[in-house]
Symmetry: C5
């Protein structure tokens, strides 16, 4: 998994029927300091995350293992909202309560 | 998934029998501003998309989860036509009605 | 999938028993103009392709979905011989009849 | 698989239900000399590894093949703690007993 | 698949139970001239290969399709020892008999 920051949303009405009901978020992977780079991925949201939140996302076939994405043509899923992470004993991020 | 722009088409008559009936499109992934780079992928079309359209495509095993691509040797599929996306609250693209 | 040009062949007699009977080709992915780069992949041939031909190849688990590669430890397969492709309405390649 | 060094931990309480009970570690892949680069991955821990340990981790669908990660939306797993590795006959790392 | 040269070995005793009995080799992918780069992968050995040998290895889910690696959390496997390969009609490598 990678840590990502949700930077936007995407809407698509004409789509494969197995995609109905999924919400698509634009997620930028961040480095261990939380800084987003230039790359991005469009991920289905399995946890009710919102723009600007730091999330954990999985890609590939594992993205179909949430209840929401089971057997859907979806290769990236947000499966957790990050509370905090630390590197070398130093807290790098903590979600506001 | 990634956002891509369809830039071309590909025809192949001599192919594995499981590929019969699939349409192949040449898709360039775009950045969050909609600008295509130099890389590309050849994807099967599951939604009736056309050249110059912005689409969402999935790769890997998830590309076999559409009705059209089920159990076929296909590792990239166009599974949605994009209506609009926004980044940091700003609309970056909207499909002409 | 990617478009590739077959540039060579590989022979391996000491191999996992599930690989028996597969032909291995060295394939270089090409750009949309048909120019090969420096990277390559060794792919199983599912369509009777030959050296110098332009082909379509799939990677990952999709490479096991041809009749020939089913349940084999094979992560790249040539599943079509390309007839023609075009980009922005311009024909970039056409196979000699 | 790649060799990685565990550099941190990540906590996420709001997550897909299938992730409950997994511990997430931040792992940096290392080169063959054991030096970590700038990239990282968040991996589930299947072996009770701790920060600063050198581990072996798998990604993609193989990350769901441990007892701990079976059928979970998890695309990276720590599945071994490294004792030692050698390159060109030279020992590059040995875990302290 | 890629052609790789085995450059070392790795030992890990504390590991997921499904990994018992697998031998881990450090493999460097080589270019079409047989020259190894700086990247590497740790692969399970399914064919009894040894250090300095040129091998074919598969990654991802296909790495679990050998008899030896079936249903194990293993994302890279050596599944053949290379006898010879040629590029543009020129032999680039031949294993000593």
């Amino acid at each position: 998994m990678l840590i990502g920051k949700i930077v936007g949303t995407l809407v698509a009405t004409q789509k494969d029927e197995k995609l109905r009901g999924l919400r698509f978020m634009v997620v930028k992977p961040v480095d261990t300091d939380g800084k987003p780079g230039s790359s991005y991925v469009v991920a289905a949201d399995a946890v009710g995350a919102g723009v600007d939140e730091y999330v954990l996302y999985a890609t590939g076939s594992s993205a179909r293992q949430t209840v929401l994405t089971d057997k859907r043509p979806c290769d990236a899923v947000i499966m957790a909202i990050v509370d905090t992470w630390e590197i070398d004993g130093q807290e790098k991020y903590r979600k506001n309560a």
